[in-house]
């Protein structure tokens, strides 16, 4: 597992480097700020760039037009995306690409992989779930960045199978809600008569794709934590009160140490889960690894982000200062693809204990 990680360190490094072009860690937040509360809330040009860089098809096999990489690279990438606060719906797009590649629908897949079309999968019928009911007439909710969708992929249950339909976004009944980070989520009331059938059964691959999205989201959260904490450390090292650098106050030092531990635990959980998936794990092993990582990321993520606000004091509570944007993004993604509680319980239900 760690050996596998070693072997991949080069591809992971390259992915991280390439991320700098789009979501520079050290860059300013001008682009991100300008997109907030606009429609569609992200930059389709940047989305296209993500496609060109091979990110949307990162985990899609090379012969299907993807980059043929794995989850170790994916979480490194989403970590960078998080650190740079890029608002483009990369993880939802990766999910759609995984589906279309599995069913070998090149007509839909190609423009998605290139970033020319934004295809979002409208799988969710209620909050905090990973279950795909596929109820044909149920509204599909919490579709991230739905304002920018060119088309929706719609899983619909037919007996024991989950068929996949595609529906053009133009003319679709989508109600948008703003999110804390300035993006949006949509509720789609799909008219299936306007949709075209793509595949007969995507049940298994959708389950896998949702696990991958959950893990990628944990990586995204890790990026938020790392970057917000980095900003906080920098602040602690420069801000003065009572004639001292506030980073010399032991209570703040110890809190920072605790946050560092949470970040380290999250990284260990996320990267080890990615290695498990890359080793080809399926079923309960895959699900347990993902749930362990996502539960940690959701819980430690919000903990770290809110403490970063606290350690900044008043300035952390202003919109002008960037650290708050990390908390806001964290609020949006914490429970996406399952809350900490959902994943903790799934883990407990799946993962056997070494009982003597």
């Amino acid at each position: 597992m760690s050996q596998a990680l070693d072997d991949r360190s080069e591809s992971i490094r390259m992915i991280r480097d390439s991320a700098g072009a789009v979501a520079p860690r050290g860059g300013d937040t001008k682009r991100v700020r300008a997109l907030r509360f606009t429609d569609p809330g992200f930059d389709k040009g940047v989305f296209a760039q993500m496609g060109e860089l091979g990110w949307i098809g990162l985990a899609v096999a090379e012969d299907a037009g993807g980059a043929g990489l794995g989850m170790s690279e994916a979480v490194a990438l989403t970590e960078e995306i998080g650190a740079g606060l890029a608002p483009e719906p990369l993880i939802p797009a990766m999910l759609s690409a995984r589906l279309l590649a599995a069913v070998e629908d090149k007509a839909l897949l190609a423009p998605l992989l290139e970033g020319g079309k934004v295809l979002l999968t409208a799988w969710q019928e209620k909050a905090d779930t990973l279950a795909v009911h596929g109820t044909s007439d149920a509204p599909r909710v919490f579709i991230p960045m739905a304002a920018g969708a060119d088309a929706f992929l719609l899983p619909v249950r037919e007996g024991n199978r989950i068929a996949l339909h595609a529906l053009d976004a133009a003319g679709a009944d989508v109600v948008l809600e703003r999110t804390m980070d300035g993006g949006n989520v949509g509720t789609l009331r799909a008219d299936l008569s306007r949709a075209s059938r793509v595949a007969d059964d995507v049940g298994a691959v959708l389950e896998q794709a949702l696990d991958e999205a959950a893990l990628a989201t944990a990586g995204h959260m890790l990026g938020l934590m790392e970057k917000a904490f980095e900003m906080t450390l920098a602040y602690l090292k420069t801000r003065q009160q009572f004639g001292r650098i506030i980073g010399t106050f032991q209570s703040l030092q110890h809190r920072a140490a605790d946050l560092k531990i949470h970040i380290a635990l999250t990284r260990a959980a996320v990267e080890s889960a990615a290695a498990v998936l890359d080793s080809g794990a399926t079923g309960a092993v895959r699900q347990a690894a993902v749930s362990k990582a996502k539960a940690r990321a959701a819980e430690s993520g919000l903990l770290v982000l809110r403490q970063c606000i606290q350690l900044h004091g008043g300035i952390g509570y202003t919109d002008e200062y960037d650290v708050g944007m990390y908390l806001r993004r964290g609020m949006v993604i914490a429970n996406q693809y399952g809350s900490a509680t959902l994943h903790r319980r799934r883990f407990m239900a799946l993962a056997p204990e070494d009982v003597e």
Partner: protein, 389 residues
């Protein structure tokens, strides 16, 4: 002394506690605008001035002020009931700096001229005050403030910058801590100055906060001329007066009302999300409930002291610490159970009672303002536990 007499002619102090409570409750229910109950954000003056004027008209704006200054001279025990009823109904906090800060300051330290000029204008709502304390480099370390006032004939010339000035855009007067002696030790050399916000040289710049709300402002002072007679008390002795005024803030911030309000909303959210019956949620909820109940008990200990007319000691900081962190823990729990609603900007389904994100964000600064919880713990450590510097 002042001209506005309280409208309430009966002596409320003579009423039985429960009768008084009912009296207050009925009047509030009849007069407080229903759509402004438990507002999700701090209200601006144009929103809450109808209520302010209602209170003023009734003579209940400043129940704690002595009668000779236009207050009701309400006994502490009655004041507490009054506050409890205001909080119970979820009345918005008004632009109350004049009432709770400037009034007591002038009553205790003002000249007769200052009292005669300013107090009636607070009672009438003509003067709305803001508090110029914090500065960019004097937040937790307030005594490091650098806004200076230099005497020039019969005026002070004020230069500097204040920050986190609550609702400064709504205020027409500001009470300001300024440095009047640069050579004195930090806490000495600070004075209290009353400044007309219309004076040339003052710029107010709202700060958008994490609620996307402009509750706070930066206020810039560029050669602002303030009449020397607007200095309160003794020059260079402003620090002690400022500290004394904070006792109000500490008990106010320790009141269980925010936690109690959030707790009610937690239940509604849990029911809506379908986790109310979940045994593990019930355990979390039970822990928060007992924390809230014990906070109420501890708050009661301090309120009893006030009721007996005692002055509160530094240990009141315990309330601020526990209340604000409980408020945060309740809203943390909200986010955990809210599913993807944890990312929404607006209340769920347009229902203001289902607003986990709003309350979550609102709870964040509670541990920062009013003296951060780190400062409160320093105070507890030093002034209550006697631990060495």
């Amino acid at each position: 002394m002042v001209s506005i007499a309280p409208k309430e002619t009966q002596d409320l102090n003579q009423m039985e506690d429960e009768a008084f409570r009912l009296h207050v409750r009925q009047w509030i229910e009849a007069n407080y605008p229903a759509d402004l109950r438990n507002p999700p954000k701090r209200l601006h003056w144009d929103e809450n001035k109808p209520w302010y004027f209602k209170l003023a008209e009734k003579g209940w704006l400043c129940p704690g002020w002595p009668r000779q200054f236009g207050g009701l001279g309400l006994a502490p025990a009655k004041q507490i009931i009054f506050t409890e009823e205001v909080e119970r109904y979820g009345c918005a906090r008004t632009n109350d700096h004049g009432i709770v800060m400037v009034g007591p300051l002038l009553i205790n330290h003002g000249t007769p001229e200052q009292q005669e000029y300013f107090l009636p204008k607070i009672l009438s709502g003509e003067h709305i005050w803001c508090q110029g304390y914090s500065e960019p480099n004097a937040g937790s370390d307030l005594a490091a403030l650098r806004t200076e006032a230099v005497l020039d004939g019969d005026h002070y010339i004020v230069n500097g910058q204040k920050i986190w000035t609550t609702l400064a855009m709504d205020a027409n007067w500001c009470f300001l801590l300024v440095r009047t002696d640069k050579n004195a030790k930090k806490q000495e050399g600070i004075s209290f100055l009353l400044v007309d916000m219309a004076t040339p040289g003052i710029t107010v710049k709202p700060i958008i906060n994490l609620e996307y709300h402009d509750e706070f402002c930066e206020v810039f002072f560029d050669n602002v001329r303030v009449p020397a007679k607007n200095l309160v008390g003794t020059p260079n002795r402003g620090w002690d007066m400022a500290k004394a005024l904070l006792s109000f803030e500490r008990i106010y911030l320790g009141s269980p009302r925010l936690s109690a309000y959030a707790f009610t909303r937690l239940r509604q959210l849990a029911e809506r999300m379908g986790v109310w019956e979940d045994a593990a949620f019930q355990e979390t909820y039970g822990r928060l409930r007992l924390d809230l109940e014990d906070l109420k008990s501890l708050y009661g200990v301090f309120v009893d002291k006030l009721r007996r007319g005692e002055t509160l000691g530094a240990d009141v900081s315990m309330l601020k610490v526990f209340q604000t962190e409980l408020f945060q823990r309740i809203t943390d729990t909200m986010l955990e159970i809210a599913g993807e609603n944890a990312g929404l900007l607006e209340p769920m389904e347009g229902n203001r009672n289902l607003n986990p994100t709003g309350l979550y964000i609102q709870a964040r600064p509670a541990t920062i303002y009013g003296g951060s919880n780190e400062i409160q713990r320093n105070i507890l450590s030093k002034n209550v536990l006697g631990l060495p510097g």
